[in-house]
Subunit: 171 residues, 2 copies
């Protein structure tokens, strides 16, 4: 299935010179969503993933059906102040400024094999922060999985060494 | 299945006197998520829902597996500034201040039967705003559907007349 045909390019958004990849037409196509869920579930099943940690908030849209398909726990990694205590958090750099992601301290078990899922890999900051939080809870990050990867931003270089990085669509 | 047994009460969060209902243990229980998805999908299937509009961001977690089960389009209703143009938006009141929700202008078809899905019905402000946006696009809101309803806040009174309001767990 040609997923790129469903991804809408929005030039000069959110700022001049940037081409924004709009995934809402993908979300609105149930056949495409089924194809994505099956492909990513198959990939993560082969890695014997035991829990799925999805990044707020578009990671939730792709992650929740994968967790359902794999019959594994869904763990939200959320922006600062959105999860009730107790949480742990980590800061990461954005193009302008700092953002913070958090996870509930009892969200994962020691040694549990976890995939971190988001819609899009850009510079890798949020995925790296998510992976760090999962590891801080004593679980094992076995994959960071995305629908789209912006290869020219080299986000893979910011992700932990030796961990699977998987994407279905590359730009 | 006793979903309340999985919902964690967090007293005095986010402010004194409030009991926060933490749904993350529900998300982390695949059996519970399957039960919720099946129950809400069955309810919406009987209403002949043709598209699911979910509210940013916990509505995504419950809405995406329902849309997958029903094989219907998933439409995100997002906080201001998160969707690329063109969008329409509407403001609604929070306890302190104003928030804004937006939807893509081409997200829905004229006359399409739509369910608005969120995790929790409190005062109904965000669900009412979501329903308003769906109606502004010419689609028909046939249900506002939630996992949890805080009945003492009378959120139903803020939702449009004559539309199904459904929740699985009430406080």
């Amino acid at each position: 299935m040609d997923l790129k045909a469903l991804i809408r390019d929005v030039p000069d958004y959110p700022s001049e010179g940037i081409i924004y990849r709009d995934l809402t037409p993908v979300m609105g196509d149930p056949r495409a969503m089924q194809f994505i869920t099956e492909t990513l579930s198959g990939h993560l099943s082969a890695l014997r993933v035991e829990a799925l940690a999805a990044i707020d908030s578009r990671g939730f849209i792709f992650g929740a059906p994968i967790a359902a398909t794999l019959d594994i726990p869904f763990i939200p990694i959320r922006k600062a102040g959105k999860l009730p205590p107790p949480v742990i958090g980590t800061d990461y750099s954005l193009e302008y400024g700092i953002a913070r992601l958090e996870i509930g301290t009892s969200a994962l078990d020691d040694g549990q094999r976890v995939a971190v899922v988001d819609d899009l890999l850009a510079t890798g900051g949020s995925a790296a922060a998510g992976a760090k939080l999962v590891a801080e809870l004593g679980a094992v990050v076995v994959s960071t999985t995305f629908l789209v990867e912006l290869q020219f931003l080299n986000g893979r270089l910011n992700l932990p060494d030796g961990i699977d990085v998987y994407s279905m669509v590359q730009y």
